[in-house]
Symmetry: C2
Subunit: 392 residues, 2 copies
């Protein structure tokens, strides 16, 4: 039986594979996966609203529903977008199974075999995995503290006529935790306009800002309907429910809906109603404030411990929000070898190499600070500090 | 902004588009969508188990989980497969968002642009929609009362070297309600073996048999790990939860898991636990017996009314299970024009043309009998009978 050629370029996610190694070690501390804190999942509130939904509208919640999504939730998402200064109607929204599915559909929308996709360098690993089945080429553009280096982007666009899409995570990026400046966002739009390219703006962490002023989303600055904005309830509500959305030009949304029909008919109906009912009954702002409070403490703790315990040759980013920070070891250090030694100490992390679409950078690591408790952060970062100090 | 070439061959689902027209008419009776009966959704039982899950394991149910699926559910699916005389372990199972996603992934697994996919003629519309983004060619093979006409299949395979996959719904097919004989199943395996082709066996209705003996699934007859079996809880439990599975060779399942990682990370975690807990706490066999009892009465009623009320020139299939029957009008009758007139009477159905991958057959209609009440079937089929009698 012959497999499609795309199988030759698809590979298991380094995060999920590391996750399996970690899961095989009971009690292993993990800074690997991008899991929200288990303490912040509003279980009791979800239990109450779920019971209410199943009592009052059970036969709707458990039956097939519209491909586009649960209408009352779509209306609430329109309001969420309006609060971000994005003009939207229900025609601009498609519900997806987490924003991961929206990332996948975006490659399906714009990318033919052999086309080039622009990403940050490094970029979200799950996005690279979502794009690979479409047999694209990647061009990762380096980033600094203000976002993508746009002169490098322009140099690439001048040479490569096959670029079809630009994918970015401008707020508290996965994996680096960095945030784009307003200037870079405006300039990216300008360049994308010049080359008539769509920008896929993935913003799952945007609400989780610890300090400083919110910077407008690229979508809010977009006057040409060029930006496909991807939102998610996974990081601010419940990841396991898998509810995300796309906000884009209505003609594109019609096409996303057709993709959704073929790919899985629709997302879980109950889950959409759970998100909707949570927004009816509770204050999402309060929920987000609580997340910010807890994650800020954890970020402060992890950054302080890294500065204290890791060798001075180790660099780290300085995230102003989100769930991740990024570590750079001296050149020549192989993070995946260090991972094996760390696992023996019952501590896990994700080597950074796989986040680079064009390879290299094996001396980097992504650390998640949202999932582990403060005690685990103290113990785990301490153990890593000792290990790294021994190793180089 | 340039769209991928695949967009030019993707089109809205005729079912879902008809569904929108029907939804726009409050009180419209619908024999269009393949919706289970709302009365048979075990809402109260689901409410109880959901409450239990959220009380005891809420932080797991609402958190990210494994891409492959919820382990206890996978173990139960292994047993379900064993009851069908399929040897399986957990390594042979991948959970999907309904079997629709498994259909989509199967094209992703085997089909390159320009390859040929074999389907029954007519075939499940949602499968055609799932395959189209992969820019394949279709070859629909005609069916009779015993399944696909395999001499026609062989004739096609002799000529076309680009066939990469055979997709079939052998039990109570969507759309015709027909069932393959044991002999045809064996012969299909033989032919697929000769040409080294995978068979995707989609079996969402197999449990819902009204009469006669169960016929082994093609997977149960498969000695070469050639069959990719697709199962679903949508028709026997709750469609809105979107839980299905793939049972296949373990090397293929590893690849399906990688696809799932990129496409949406994982299916809804709570939904998988709801299915698992239902299987723990309640008797699925009882639930299925109840479905069979109710649907059999509806099938009997709809068939009797068609025979009484429709013009004698109208042919119908004689389904022994499932949710659909298939209508053939005399040549020259256009079912989509009739649909518009039927909608004015507040009755909906799906024209059969779009179920034929190579077009034609506009004189056919799919009728669903599971969703409407007996009263609605009496009224709706009566109205259609009057309409059709007036029209030809």
């Amino acid at each position: 039986m012959k497999l499609s050629t795309r199988l030759s370029v698809m590979k298991p996610s380094a995060i999920r594979e590391t996750g399996k190694q970690i899961a095989a070690r009971p009690g292993c501390m993990s800074f690997a996966a991008g899991l929200p804190s288990p303490q912040l999942i509003p279980v009791e509130k979800v239990r109450k609203i779920t019971d209410k939904i199943l009592k009052k509208k059970g036969a709707i919640a458990l039956q097939y529903g519209p491909t586009k999504g649960h209408e009352p939730l779509i209306e609430k998402i329109v309001k969420i977008m309006e609060e971000k200064n994005v003009t939207a109607t229900r025609e601009n929204i498609q519900i997806t199974t987490g924003s991961q599915q929206a990332i996948f559909f975006s490659a399906m929308m714009f990318v033919n075999k052999g086309d080039t996709v622009i990403t940050e360098n490094p970029s979200y690993l799950g996005a690279l995995a979502a794009f690979r089945p479409f047999e694209c080429n990647f061009k990762g553009i380096d980033v600094d503290e203000d976002g993508m280096k746009l002169d490098e982007l322009e140099a690439v666009l001048e040479k490569d006529n096959n670029v079809k899409m630009i994918y970015v995570v401008p707020n508290f990026s996965n994996p680096t935790g960095r945030t784009w400046s307003l200037e870079r966002r405006k300039k990216l739009l300008e360049i994308a306009g010049e080359y008539d390219l769509p920008i896929v703006e993935d913003n799952p962490y945007g609400e989780i800002r610890f300090e400083g002023e919110d910077i407008p989303t690229i979508k809010a600055l977009d006057k040409e309907n060029r930006v496909i904005y991807l939102g998610s309830f996974s990081k601010i509500f419940c990841a396991g429910l898998r509810v995300g959305w796309i906000c884009a030009d209505k003609n594109l949304i019609n096409k996303y809906e057709i993709m959704k029909q073929g790919a899985d008919l629709q997302s879980n109906q109950l889950a959409q109603m759970q998100v909707d009912e949570f927004l009816n009954e509770y204050d999402m702002e309060e929920q987000i404030k609580e997340i910010i409070k807890v994650y800020k403490v954890k970020r402060d703790l992890m950054c302080r411990l890294i500065d204290e315990k890791f060798p001075k040759t180790v660099k780290r980013t300085d995230p102003k929000g989100g769930m991740f920070l990024w570590i750079e070891f001296p050149n020549g250090v192989d993070a995946s070898k260090l991972l094996q030694k760390a696992l023996e100490l019952n501590v896990g992390f994700v080597p950074g190499g796989p986040f680079y679409p064009n390879g290299g950078h094996e001396n980097t690591v992504r650390l998640n600070y949202s999932n582990m408790s403060q005690e685990q952060i103290v113990e785990g970062i301490g153990l890593l500090g000792e290990l790294f100090s021994r190793e180089f």
